[in-house]
């Protein structure tokens, strides 16, 4: 049952979002929104000299799932290497949230993935990699295939 998602952990993250706020001098600043509900997220990442994530914060409005997801994601990624951000996958996030097996419907998975999408767009543009047609498509496709 999908209301099982509203376990204490998720509710706690929702009530007390971790890493909430903005970073003035962040190297990565992204804004993404979910056209389906109007929710949006701003994601900020600041690196140290070794290109490890020194600080990561988010802001925005969203449902319990997207806010918990953003909280958890920022916790997971703090201190990580740039390469880790690149390899961080959709699956990693959903597993950490523990919602892979709940049969959550695709619209709600899209909520959970809003921070992920912001992350990917931000990181790619940070490394100056102009996404190819194909890669953009894959990124979009991921969200599309989640949506339907």
């Amino acid at each position: 049952m999908s209301s099982e998602i509203y376990r204490d952990m998720i509710l706690d993250y929702y009530r007390h979002p971790r890493n909430y706020g903005s970073i003035e001098d962040a190297e990565i600043k992204v804004q993404e929104s979910n056209p389906l509900c109007g929710d949006d997220i701003e994601l900020y990442i600041k690196f140290d000299e070794e290109k490890n994530v020194k600080d990561i914060k988010f802001k925005g409005r969203g449902c319990a799932i997207s806010v918990a997801s953003a909280s958890l994601m920022t916790e997971l990624l703090k201190g990580k290497k740039l390469d880790d951000l690149l390899s961080f996958s959709k699956k990693d996030l959903l597993e950490a949230l523990g919602i892979e097996t709940l049969g959550l419907n695709p619209v709600r998975i899209k909520c959970a993935l809003l921070p992920y999408k912001a992350l990917k767009i931000g990181v790619y543009s940070h490394i100056g990699k102009k996404l190819s047609e194909e890669e953009k498509h894959i990124l979009d496709y991921e969200s599309e295939s989640q949506q339907d």
Partner: protein
């Protein structure tokens, strides 16, 4: 039982979908402002068309085509009668959105220019905002919005103030799909005509639920969708006054809308076909005809009465839930069967997910009315919207579901 009142349980028997279970529970469908369920009669009319007389219309000499044309134009007669228009004033589009775009492009591109004003309201659906934004980019006309008060009603003074800018066109929703507000479109149309403006009424949320008479309202154009009125998806209606339609440039160009075509130019067909380019969604139009028959057999004023009763009950029982904020007016005369609300700080999406498990279909989001959300100061609301098959037991189930959400969220 009072014969004047509907029995939703009896009506439900005409709707095959209510046989289905959702997670083992009965379906409680409360998203009628998005789209309505279809009675057997409508589904059958379409199946019959495809199985018995599927053919392209108007130009066929053979039997199937003659039958299809007859059924198609007969549906137009029904729709015309339903809103008290002439047949030649009923244009079939794919939905209300296309109908509104038709006016924006066809009338707007040819009549608006820099310095002109377009008058809308803050409670419009995106379908009555974005087309005007597109046209205003092409023509440089400016859009003004009539603001709403705390009850969700248009501010009279603002109407007066903005009419003084002498807008060329005034386009206003009849019933808000978020607040339920019923606007006094007749009065606004009168005012607009006094200053020489063209008037458009977005009747997507009114035609299915209450008596709408285009002569009585007096508007120049009126748009609605079949699928929100028990009809199929894929057909909308634009009503337009004959004189205006005759003077207007067509919108979509193609087959059926011309009388003659040369390499250099073309001559347009008579009304209403001048505005119906390409092959129409014939089955959907015939289905809409069947929906109108069905609505007539029940009686639109009985439907309205039923909805008022249900809305009253819902407003009362919902207001007993603490931390629940309902938007819009409490005056039932000025409100359709749409109730938007928020429960404490539970995001509407989370609410809808919890309710879904109870078999309750409820909308959560911005309802294609983001400017209105901004005005209300929220990102989204939950919305329950009723129709003739909804009963008080559906409201009770909603209340129970909301209480469950409170428990889950430990409120």
């Amino acid at each position: 039982m009072c014969p004047d009142l509907l029995d939703p349980e009896i009506i439900k028997q005409d709707f095959p979908i209510f046989k289905r279970r959702v997670y083992g529970k009965r379906l409680i469908y409360l998203d009628n402002a998005a789209t309505t369920q279809k009675p057997r009669q409508v589904i059958e009319a379409m199946r019959e068309f495809y199985q018995d007389y599927n053919a392209n219309i108007h130009r066929g000499v053979y039997r199937l085509s003659v039958e299809a044309t007859e059924a198609f134009e007969n549906a137009r007669k029904k729709v015309a009668k339903f809103i008290n228009a002439k047949e030649s004033e009923i244009i079939f589009t794919k939905n209300a959105t296309e109908a509104l775009n038709l006016v924006a492009y066809s009338w707007g591109l040819n009549n608006l220019r820099e310095g002109d004003h377009i008058l809308l309201t803050e409670m419009e659906h995106h379908s009555n905002i974005v087309p005007w934004q597109l046209i205003s980019k092409y023509t440089k006309a400016k859009i003004d919005y009539i603001s709403i008060d705390k009850e969700g009603l248009l501010v009279d003074d603002e109407v007066d103030r903005l009419m003084e800018k002498r807008p060329k066109i005034v386009s206003i929703t009849h019933v808000s799909n978020v607040l339920g507000t019923i606007n006094n479109v007749k009065k606004i149309v009168e005012h607009a005509h006094k200053i020489g403006a063209i008037t458009v009424v977005d009747a997507a949320q009114s035609v299915p639920h209450m008596q709408v008479d285009v002569q009585e309202i007096g508007c120049d154009f009126l748009a609605f969708s079949g699928h929100k009125a028990l009809g199929p998806l894929g057909v909308g209606v634009l009503y337009g006054k004959r004189d205006l339609l005759e003077d207007m440039n067509p919108f979509l160009g193609g087959g059926d809308m011309i009388s003659r075509v040369w390499l250099e130019n073309s001559e347009w067909n008579e009304l209403p076909w001048k505005f119906e380019a390409g092959t129409s969604s014939i089955a959907d139009v015939i289905g809409l005809g069947a929906a109108v028959d069905y609505l007539n057999s029940i009686g639109i004023s009985r439907i309205r009465k039923h909805e008022i009763k249900l809305t009253k009950y819902a407003l009362e029982t919902l207001s007993e839930i603490s931390d629940l904020k309902i938007y819009g007016t409490n005056n039932l005369e000025q409100r359709g069967a749409v109730i938007s609300f928020n429960l404490a700080n539970i995001h509407p999406h989370d609410l809808a997910t919890i309710l879904d498990e109870e078999g309750i279909a409820l909308r959560a989001g911005h309802h294609c009315a983001m400017p209105l959300m901004n005005k209300l100061g929220v990102a989204a609301t939950a919305r329950a919207s009723f129709y003739l098959y909804n009963a008080e037991s559906d409201v009770d189930a909603l209340v129970e579901g909301l209480n469950k959400a409170r428990r889950i969220f430990k409120l």
